[in-house]
Amino acid sequence: MTATITLPEKVEMKKTREGFGRALVDLGEQDPRIVVLVGDLSESTMVHFFAEKFPDRFIQVGIAEQNMCGIAAGLAAMGKIPFFATYGAFASCRAADQIRVTVAYSNLNVKIAGAHGGISVGPDGATHQAMEEISIIRSIPNMTMLVPCDFWETYKATIAAAKHQGPVYLRFGREDVPVVTSKETPFTFGKGEVFAEGKDLTLIACGVMVYEALRARETLAERGYSARVINLHTLKPIDRDLIVHAARETGAIVTAEEHQVNGGLGGAVAEVVVQSAPVPMELVAVHDRFGQSGKPAELMDAFGLRAKDIVAAAEKVLERKRVR
């Protein structure tokens, strides 16, 4: 689906996790089956909005992610639609075995919310900067995964997760990030969205990197290149057709993610590309190193997760495309 996005000079900043918190409240009003669980992180995950409105359907589990995941499974087995929330590092790692065996193998209708994904988490440092989630969740059968790019998309992704029958993992960040979509921007579970057309190469991004990709596109345009921008908010199931068309039509791809390079968005796209339309790719990501403390902006710069890094990767891939 295409929804051409053009960014204003000054973009509104808002937290993705707030989109999650707001959506839960709306879901709670529409559907009595919605139950929310949290592991002693009500405000950071913004489930406190839901907790205030629906105390009877809110479950405080304390600091016990494994148990929380199993409780959600039991609730789902009884027909509830449970969302459990904690930091992504603990949702994806501390509860990995419970997600695999109890949730995914049973194919239960559990929604997992991983807050604080990516290096932009900032001062808390490496332990709290979840950057392995995509690799872990992608590898588990029956799991699906959404990585929305801003406040509105996180809101929609949360609604879509509730509507989808089966386990879903939602990844979002900590900081205010540019709002690039609007209430009206289309969102389809399982499909990527073309946010800008282009013919020379394709930038495929998820999460906050979608904004950086759109900015990179502007710079590339100035340099005479037309870059297609795809917002791949659904990491699993992956939108093969969209990726294959982009590879065939533009002949070069740059992926951008706030995640480890091994097995993440770049890896997922590479797997599709080599099986259908092998083209040169560059992967903008965290290159197999742990995060650290610092201001989010400092870290995005230091870890090479900026528009300028996407531009550099784009020029490299365009060069590779030419000399092939």
Binding site: A64, N67, G70, G79, V101, T102, Y105
Partner: protein, 303 residues
């Protein structure tokens, strides 16, 4: 084994929806049949666990034929009680109880762990009707039961929830997360049953990683603790009744059992945790259990 044990009326009685309240003698009969099923299916599959399933056979029979309010033909019956074996490896006893109670034909037991059967090595919600949540990774089941109990609380549903755990399994930290949760929320619809057979894969639980004093642990996590003789049907029924009547805390029944109970050469020997009897050993076992492979496998295949 008496022929009428398989009469239409007998099947009807065993498969009847709702809570059965069979007398002790009849439960003992059924427990014997369950042990025969276990040995027979293991002899056929030549893969799977013997020890734990046999130690669970008596309280398992009491649970399915005297305690649970279920409709085997309609596993998702809204009124149902919920049961869950957190020790997923005891599938021989789980499947035997399910088949004897009517969830699926007894003949399916003869495809235990087979490529073309639904009776997987570990309980699979994907494959077996009546298995609501998969298991096989130890320590996860009590959390699931917490969730089922919380759902019942939200819906003001009278459902009771039963979770069978192992004694070695008590070493998993998730058990204690779940225990703390149930204690905190006073989930008295929840009843845990620990198959305290004193053994795990590598040997005696006490020497591998001592879990004692187990009753004090559970009490300190806010549970009502009910010790019982796990192979004494009357005492097992007493324990279930005590759990059912207790208000204000979840209850846990510590069932003192013997690994491999019912087969003399398996009894109290941890080396039988995870292996099946060879066909000739199975014959010996079935003889002790008052039947033989031909007769009992025929019974299974006929229903």
């Amino acid at each position: 084994m008496s022929p009428e044990a398989l009469s239409a009326s007998d099947l009807e009685a065993a498969h009847r929806p709702g809570r059965l309240t069979w007398p002790i003698e009849r439960l003992k009969d059924k427990a014997l049949h369950v042990r025969r099923d276990i040995i027979t299916m293991l002899s056929k599959s030549q893969t799977g666990h013997s020890g734990g399933p046999l130690s669970c056979a008596d309280f398992g029979t009491a649970l399915f034929f005297n305690e649970l309010n279920i409709d085997p033909k309609n596993p998702k019956w809204p009124e149902r009680d919920y049961w869950h074996f957190s020790i997923g490896h005891v599938t021989p006893v789980i499947y035997s109880l399910m088949a004897e109670r009517g969830y699926f034909p007894l003949r399916d037991l003869m495809k235990f762990r087979a490529f073309d059967g639904h009776t997987q090595g570990h309980p699979s919600a994907h494959d077996t009707p009546g298995i609501e949540v998969s298991a096989g990774s130890l320590g996860q089941g009590l959390s699931v039961c917490n969730g089922v109990a919380m759902a019942a609380r939200i819906d003001h549903h009278p459902r009771r929830i039963y979770c069978v755990m192992g004694d070695g399994e008590q070493q998993e930290g998730q058990i204690w997360e779940a225990a703390m949760f149930a204690g905190h929320y006073k989930l008295d619809s929840l009843c845990g049953i620990i198959d305290y057979n004193r053994m795990q894969i590598d040997g005696d639980v006490e020497s591998i990683m001592n879990i004692n004093p187990l009753d004090e642990k559970w009490r300190s996590f806010g549970w009502n603790v009910i010790p019982c003789k796990g192979h004494d049907m009357a005492d097992v029924l007493r324990a279930f009744a005590a759990a059912r009547e207790h208000r204000g805390h979840p209850s846990v029944i510590i069932a003192n059992t013997v690994m491999g109970e019912g087969v003399s050469y398996m009894a109290d020997d941890y080396r039988w945790h995870g292996k099946p009897p060879k066909p000739e050993q199975a014959d010996e076992a079935l003889k002790e259990l008052g039947t033989n492979y031909l007769e009992w496998s025929a019974r299974l295949l006929a229903h």
